[in-house]
Each structure stands twice: as structure tokens, then as C-alpha cells.
Subunit: 338 residues, 2 copies
């Protein structure tokens, strides 16, 4: 079996690696229907986050269960399943509180840019669909595994509700799906901050009512204008830089909600600024597992089509081109077919 | 009339100053029944926060209305009223959202360590009691004006609810009243972090179920032990230093709530630590006005007695001794009688 391996900055190789098999009684082995590249894969790809050696890449996955360990009883071979980037037992107190990505026994899933994947803690991690879905739904289920779950968490953690005004900071796949999520949650006004025409178009299709192309202080000023000087109720921040975080806090109304779902890189919050901004803050690694059943239903019933964020589809062996296209922002997100 | 004036570090003088009168149609002039020293007054007193010149001190107040401006119709001379440190119109969008301390027209109230005070935006700021209260209730109404309102906000912003586990960081008057607030809100377990015997006693009287005397990592370890390795649902942080904030975040469970109500001094939050802590954060200058009607009811009906935080009462002319006693932690909080 071949897997995408990162050797160093911009050095992705698709090379032979042992096909995963059951190593723990709680494992499952899944034959992936599709796989994909995450925005967060670009941090190590760009060398901003170091890798210590050849690293198997990929953590977004869905597919057909091939085999399960002897402790796995509810997930069965032949089922179509969706998991997420942190395997979780779904029974510990953190899981019970809805924070499965902080499971006391969590394990990072890696090596999903391949045709077969071992998933630890399979029973807590995987959710099966009612049937094996048609091909046309597969990209949306693949999105649910990470970006859709993360966009949903971004909107949820920013307290989006019926009638609220939302500003989404970031027009990557997660930001675009935070727009879609806010629409599903009944937001009245959804302002997407985006400078890229193709992303603006998708944002509108997903439910954005306004687009703000300006950034930084000019962007904040424009949001204030659109919200009559008050600021937004909810601001999902879907980037993870100091600039985007500052912008998000400045765009929120007093008492408003700012969420953050991208791993922060060199972000520093000054206590005093936060204090007088009077906002609520919440975020962290998205507990995608919490939302899987709901999101699977929404996809299955055709209510959402998050797979539209994949504007590039390639055979898996061209994974390196997928990274290049996303790095150069030629593609929002690349789907890979094993 | 004489007022407490701060000239520089540890230089409080009680000196003649013009008696305040109505200057705006929206003003009221209040004859103060009592006044007091706030923990936040100690920052400039200690020179940690600079003063640019002789500054009239004090922002906690209750008393009898003497006179109102011509635009004030609902607040009337002779009424006993309670206000808070930010005057607010109580009608702007921020006020309507419950963040009166971020009122678009807010004014900081100052000079309340005196016998008479001018209160701007009186109609939005002041709340009158049903009758002029008995003397024994006055210290509790005085507490409601700031520390009780701030302790309540600390518990509210930390999402304290029926059955939750709470850790209160800080054993000053605000921390102690956050304990009392958490008890009122139905918390099941309230862990107060305190090293001072007299404060531990008051914490227990207000409803603390456990006391943790350790600080820093030892304190966090003790809280983890008491919460079976999970952390607390709610952590009101009532100090405002880097150490206390870090401790609060470390004591919260994943998905838990940390609030902060003391003006932060050189507090810096690292994005990545916050991200993986998975907590909710909320705080800022307490919107005491939001809680005044409820807290006045609780005091009037005898359900809470927050005036107990005043463990020192002095004639107003001894205000400098009040500052010294609080600075040296000989007193939790000083009540001053004009």
C-alpha cells in the first residue's frame, strides 16, 4: 500500500508502507472510499510546524470497515463509517461532556492519505451510516469527518442561534462551512470576510448575506458599518493567526461570542484588551465526534452538501499536486481518490 | 465637603473639595449612607497603576437622592438608591444586551469616598429600593453596588448552575462573594482557594464546601484530586494576575467555564495553551446594573448578607487607615461612615 509521507518542507512523497492491520482489540481497519488534504496539513508542509522524520499524512477519512478487533462489537465489517482526527473512547468524562477531542484516552489518527487506515478506539470514534451511501454523497461525508465538523463547532462555540448576526473570519474550507453551519442554525445575517472571488461565490451559495473583502482595521470598520456600530453577536474565527484573532475580537459586539478552531500559531492575547472587549471566547480542537450523528443525518437527507468545498479531485497518487494547489491557493480543498 | 484624594503611591488625603451638584439634566446628587474601599483602589494606591494628579477616589455607593436633573423622572429625591462604577443609559444596544458596563455612553463614577456624590445618567444607573432600608441592611446594599455585583457576574460568566462543581480563585471580597453567588445559583460543590484563616471561615459561611490552601501547581494538583482528575465545571477568577489566570484555566475541566472580573495586570494568554485547554472564557468589567434588581431583592428578603465582607468599619475621615489595613491584608474590606 502506498501512503503520502511528508519528509520536510514541500517534500511530499507517495510511497510504499506496510498496510495497516488490527494491533489492539479496540481497533478497526477501514478501506477508504476517498481521502483529502486538510488546511492544517499545510502548516508542516510549509515548514511552519516541524516534522521530526518521514511522517504519514492525513486525518480525514470515511470508508468501508474491513476488519475489527475483538473488543469492537457495534461497528461491523461492511459498514460505511466516518471518523475524525482524534480517536476517542466516547465514555470518559470529557467525552460525556461533549469534548471527545479532549478524550482522556485520545489518540491522533494519522496516515489517512492512503487506501487503508487503522482507527484506534473504533467503537467510540466511528459512526456508521444507515446504509452504504451512493457515490455522490461520499465527498460530503468526507467533509463531515473534519472541515464540516470543525465549521459546525466554530458556529456552535460562537453561540450562533436563530436570528443572530454572524461574521465569519477566514474563507478556507472551514470558514466556508462555518457559513453553511450558521445558515443551518438560523442566523439572520452572515457576513463572510473573503477576498477571493471563487470563495465569495461559494460563501454566498452556502448562505452568506454579505461579503467583506477588506482586512484588518478596514475590515473591522466595514463590519461596524454593517452592524450599525454594534458588532456581531457571533464571530467564528477560522484561521488561527494573531491578525485573524484580533480581527475576530474587534468585530464582536460587547457580550458577543468569538470562537477559534484553527490551531493557533504564535497567537498571544492581551488580558486587558480581552477584558474591555467584553467577549465570550471558546474553541479548541473541534469535538467532531459530538456532531457526527447530526451532520450525517443532514448529509443523508440532502439538507447540506458540504462536499462542494472540494474544488479539486485527483487520484491519490497525485497527492503532491493536491498539496501544491492548496498551498498556492489554486484550490480550496483537494479530494483524493485511492 | 471632604473627599479621599490619591496624590501618589500610598498618599491618600482626606481634603476639602467642592460639594457636587447637578451639572447635566441627566444627573442625580446622592447623599451617601456609607462608602467603601474597593480592591481595585489598591492598584493605584500601590503605584501599580499611575495617577496623573490628585484623584478623587471611590466608586462604590448607596444613599438618599437629594436632587435630580430635569431629565430624570423615575428616580426621585428621598429615595434610597444603589448604583455602580460605570454610569450607563441602560437603553443603548450594549445595555439592552446586558453589558451596561460597556454602555455606548458610559461614564466612570469617581469620588464616592465622600459624603455626597454626583451620579451621571442617573435614570439608567440608579436602582431604588422599595423603601428606605433599616440601618442593618445598608452594608449589604453597599456591597451590592460593586463587589457583590462583581462576584455574581463572576459566577454567572463562569456558567455556574444547579449541581455544578466550582473552583473560586481569589479570596478577596469579590472571590468570597463569588462563593456566595455560586451557592445561590445551586452549585453542588464549591472549592475556595484561600490561605488566610479568616477568609477561609467566611468562605465556608458563604457556602464553600472545600478549601484549598495550596497555590500554583500544588493548588492545581489538589483541585484535580478533589475533582477525580477532571477539573471543575466553573472557575471564577477573581484576582487578575497571570498566576491566578493560569491557575484558573488549569483547574477547569475540558469544556468548562473560566470567568475573569478583575482588571488584568500584565496578563498574557498564549493561544496554543488556551486552544488545548478547551475552556470557555468570559469576563470584563462586571455589568453590575444588570444584576441590581435581583441582588437588591435577595438582600431585602434576607436571603443573602454580602455586607459580611466588611470586617472593618471606620469613620470616613480615617479613610487612609482603611487603605492601609486592606493593603496589609489586615482587613478584607473597609466600610467608611460619612
Amino acid at each position: 500500500m502506498r501512503t503520502a509521507m511528508l519528509y520536510g518542507p514541500r517534500d511530499i512523497r507517495f510511497e510504499e508502507r506496510e498496510t495497516p492491520r488490527i494491533t489492539q482489540p479496540t481497533d478497526a481497519v477501514v478501506r477508504l472510499s476517498v481521502t483529502s488534504i486538510c488546511g492544517s496539513d499545510l502548516w508542516p508542509y510549509r515548514g511552519i510546524q516541524a516534522v521530526t522524520g518521514p511522517t504519514p499524512m492525513g486525518h480525514e477519512y470515511c470508508g468501508i470497515v474491513e476488519e475489527v478487533g475483538r473488543a469492537v462489537t457495534k461497528i461491523k465489517p461492511g459498514q460505511f463509517v466516518i471518523g475524525s482526527f482524534f480517536a476517542s473512547d466516547n465514555t470518559c468524562p470529557n467525552c460525556q461532556n461533549g469534548y471527545q477531542s479532549s478524550c482522556q484516552h485520545r489518540e491522533l489518527v494519522g496516515g489517512a492519505q492512503a487506501s487503508v487506515l487503522r482507527v484506534p478506539l473504533a467503537e467510540g470514534t466511528l459512526v456508521a451510516t444507515q446504509d452504504v451511501p451512493q457515490q455522490d454523497l461520499i465527498p460530503s461525508f468526507q467533509a463531515v469527518s473534519d472541515v464540516m465538523g470543525t465549521g459546525w463547532f466554530a458556529a456552535d462555540a460562537a453561540n450562533v442561534k436563530q436570528g443572530t448576526t454572524v461574521v465569519v473570519v477566514g474563507d478556507g474550507a472551514v470558514g466556508l462551512l462555518a457559513v453553511l453551519s450558521a445558515r443551518q442554525m438560523g442566523a439572520e445575517r452572515i457576513i463572510a470576510m473573503s477576498r477571493h472571488e471563487s470563495r465569495q461565490r461559494l460563501a454566498r451559495e452556502f448562505g452568506a448575506t454579505d461579503i467583506v473583502a477588506e482586512r484588518g482595521q478596514a475590515g473591522e470598520a466595514r463590519v461596524m458599518e454593517l452592524t450599525r456600530g454594534i458588532g456581531a453577536d457571533s464571530v467564528p474565527e477560522c484561521v488561527g493567526t494573531q491578525e485573524s484573532m484580533t480581527q475576530a475580537i474587534q468585530c464582536a459586539r460587547r457580550g458577543g461570542y468569538v470562537s477559534y478552531v484553527g490551531v493557533p500559531h504564535a497567537v498571544d492575547l492581551k488580558g486587558e484588551e480581552l477584558f474591555f472587549a467584553h467577549v465570550h471566547l471558546h474553541g479548541g480542537p473541534a469535538p467532531v465526534r459530538r456532531f457526527l450523528p447530526k451532520l450525517i443525518d443532514l448529509v443523508w437527507s440532502g439538507k447540506i452538501n458540504p462536499g462542494k468545498v472540494f474544488d479539486l479531485a485527483l487520484p491519490l497518487e497525485q497527492v503532491a499536486e493536491g498539496y501544491r494547489a492548496m498551498d498556492e491557493r489554486r484550490a480550496i480543498k483537494a479530494l483524493l481518490r485511492p
